[in-house]
């Protein structure tokens, strides 16, 4: 069975490409698509599939490693890390507040009611904690480009 990751880069989003790649890997890890020990596509493979500059992939992987999401094994590639980086409660608080503030600003601009915002957040929280699958063997992923 071939495992494929779907990556999508939006040039018009105003979000740097490496950030978009980081966010997607984090999303896959949070959602359980990527599990500990899984191998990510190589830098060359990902750069070609998405037609992005290889240095952008390097940057995304480096930042992900710094965040403790993945680890680079010399000569072997990038793997999903076993342990998330130990961050302080304070760092957690700052990061969470920043995201929450952004959500609130957007919800307000879109005129979404507060109860609806709470409901959506709860649904998303449930979505990232899926039941573990039977297949727990680490897998190697290739990439499917998406526009």
């Amino acid at each position: 069975m071939i495992h494929r990751l779907h990556f999508q880069i939006d040039e018009r989003s105003g979000v740097p490409v490496y950030r978009q790649m980081m966010d997607q890997v984090k999303y896959y890890v949070a959602g359980g698509t990527l599990r500990q020990g899984d191998q990510l596509p190589s830098i060359r493979e990902l750069a070609s599939a998405l037609t992005v500059n290889p240095t952008t992939v390097v940057k995304a992987y480096t930042e992900l490693e710094r965040d403790g999401v993945i680890e680079m094994r010399h000569g072997k590639g990038a793997f999903v890390s076993g342990r998330a980086k130990a961050i302080t409660r304070e760092e957690q608080e700052v990061a969470l507040r920043r995201s929450a503030k952004q959500l609130v600003v957007e919800a307000t601009q879109l005129q979404v009611t507060p109860p609806r915002v709470i409901t959506v957040v709860r649904e998303e929280l449930n979505a990232v904690n899926p039941a573990p699958s039977a297949d727990e063997t680490p897998v190697k992923f290739t990439v499917v480009p998406g526009r």
């Binding site: 040039e11 105003g14 060359r44 750069a47 998405l50």
Partner: protein, 359 residues
Amino acid sequence: MAAVIETRSLTKSFGRDVVAVSALDLSIAPGAVYGLIGRNGAGKTTTLRLLMGLLRADSGSARVLGCDFWEASPAIRQRVAYVSQGHLAPDWMALEDLDRYGGHFFDRWDSAHARFLARRWELPWKRPIGKLSGGNQRLAALAMALSARPEVLILDEPAAGLDPIARRALLVCLTEVLSDGDGATILLSTHLLSDLERLASHVGIMDRGRLVAEGAVEDWQRTMRRVQVVFDGTKPPEGISIPGAIRTQVLGPVMTALARVDDDAQLDGLRQIPNARVFVFPLSLEELFVEFFDRPAPAAGWNPGTDSGRSGTGVEVAPHKSVGRGVATAADPCGGDSDVEPVRAGRETSGVSGPPGEG
């Protein structure tokens, strides 16, 4: 790091009235993918041709790998590949002929790679170039340029005339060039800004022969925003401005700015104004470009980026002592020991270019 491509006060006019390139300062670091954008006639093609030594500058300097290509030796020239907008080679030549030809002039010529690219792009190996479609002629030119395994790749509108599939093939190929071995430095002119957004590390905007803006793509994506503030009433209150604004437009009660937003908190002051509504939109390179040309041209030297991609001091090259074109002393890195009357390797494979002053 020393710049791989550098121009200083580069100036070129055609006739009395047409200043194609005007006091251009460009500095491109090793490994960069530099996208030169600008409207037609902005001077992009002329700049590339000056760098390749196909045109002689009126004043200022243009150097690639530290050398002035107007008089560089074949040894230096073969480290640089150039694909012009024009024709590749004499129409009667086939890729097979060009491959053999390339082997004679480029030390690092990779015939296997030429064949590989021809197969991958489904280019007929034995059919004369003149009988290929326009798109395939461009791909053939690119295949030849890439087979020279150049350190520097200079591409003039490489994707022009390519269908979406061929364009993607080209982009994939460029990412491979960047992934392979030592990597390469790429300078390309283009109108396809979304491609640049993925691939380029730096972008320079040319207007009327000048570099009017330059920056790291990532930096622009992170910070350049359109900020719109809608005030109550018929016009904004006196003395209000948008922090970080590069240019501002007021239409009734709506103030819109192209702004550099390093930190969203810089807009908090605006948000605290009673009844003012603040909207922040990201800008793609294309929107930024349009924004840039949509209004009267800004003063030269406008630069939204702090990280401009300039490589600092640039490269110092010993005074030229060459006697003639392509002949140089041993101490001169730009010369060579070739006694062949300068076969312009870079030029020959790149073919004839479009008319000067175009692009």
